[in-house]
Amino acid sequence: MDVDPALVRACQRGERGALDELIRATYADVYKLTRRMLADPDEAADATQEVFVRVMRSVVGFRGEAAFGTWLHRVTVNVCLTLLKKRTQARETGMVAGRTPFALPDDVFEIAGEDASPDDRAETADLVRRSEIALMRLNEEARAVVVLRDIEGLSTKEVADLLNVTENVVKVRLHRAHAKLRELVLGADGSTAAGGVA
């Protein structure tokens, strides 16, 4: 999430239109992260709104010690983790019967430039698409570590801090999540021609 520091300063000064511009520049990235973390488009949209409410409340106090994009990333992850906790609590107290993985075989994300790709790129694109669907089929704990560690590129320590667990727990969850993903994406025998995860 790259954000022009001048735009952030304009927001802090309360300049007209700056906040709108900041939202336009970042909302798609915020939505993408919430969508992956929550695996539910409606909840992701709600979470995106919550992220920007927090941004509006706190942007004036943002001191610029880290890049704004990093701060926004952290706010987004925290909002998602709060929602995931609530979801787990609701399930434990019997308020919901249990959530099935949301993604369906035809509910795939558009992969940029896929149409114009040559064969090898199409194969890679297919693998990526199947990985996306498989990701949605992981349980919430596993999906959170994969999204944060493998896709968002945070270190094991950063993931552990965010999830409030030890680094070893992150490693174990990641190991199990990878095993499940390999099974879903590549098939039990490791063949990429497994034909999807549906």
Partner: protein, 134 residues
């Protein structure tokens, strides 16, 4: 193959493969795992699978996810709702109280009243002192 049924060396090596693929494995552990991979074709094949998966997950970072229609409009409407923008645009917010502007106003008001009272008291005291002297 079920991991529990693997030979012990393979199980131990496989537990290190995620770190190997992500480049986090160093030192003696790296040396031992590499040596095992040279001898074990199953584990070597497993590395290839993990690298494929890691590549696909990394590529996900750059995939486009289309936000729902209307989300941007909702966000902009929310930002322009009365009260929210004003709260974002108060530069002195939290300057005294940490995060609560109403406390800042209270501190300033109490401070102004107290300093006026002290000033008036000093003025009256100085006058009384002068009268007593004359």
């Amino acid at each position: 193959m079920n991991e529990a049924r693997l030979p012990r060396f393979c199980r131990e090596a496989r537990s290190q493969l995620p770190a190997l693929v992500s480049g986090e494995l160093t030192g003696w552990a790296l040396h031992v795992v590499r040596a095992h991979l040279r001898r074990c074709s199953d584990c070597s094949a497993e590395v290839v699978r993990q690298e494929q998966l890691a590549g696909a997950l990394t590529a996900l970072r750059d995939t486009h996810v289309e936000p729902p229609v209307g989300l941007l409009d909702d966000l902009l409407a929310q930002a322009n709702r009365r009260g929210v923008r004003e709260r974002a645009a108060v530069p002195a917010r939290g300057a005294l109280s940490g995060a609560r502007p109403e406390l800042s106003v209270a501190f300033l008001t109490v401070g102004a009243i107290a300093s006026t009272g002290i000033g008036y008291g000093l003025y009256r005291g100085a006058r009384a002192f002068r009268h007593r002297g004359s």
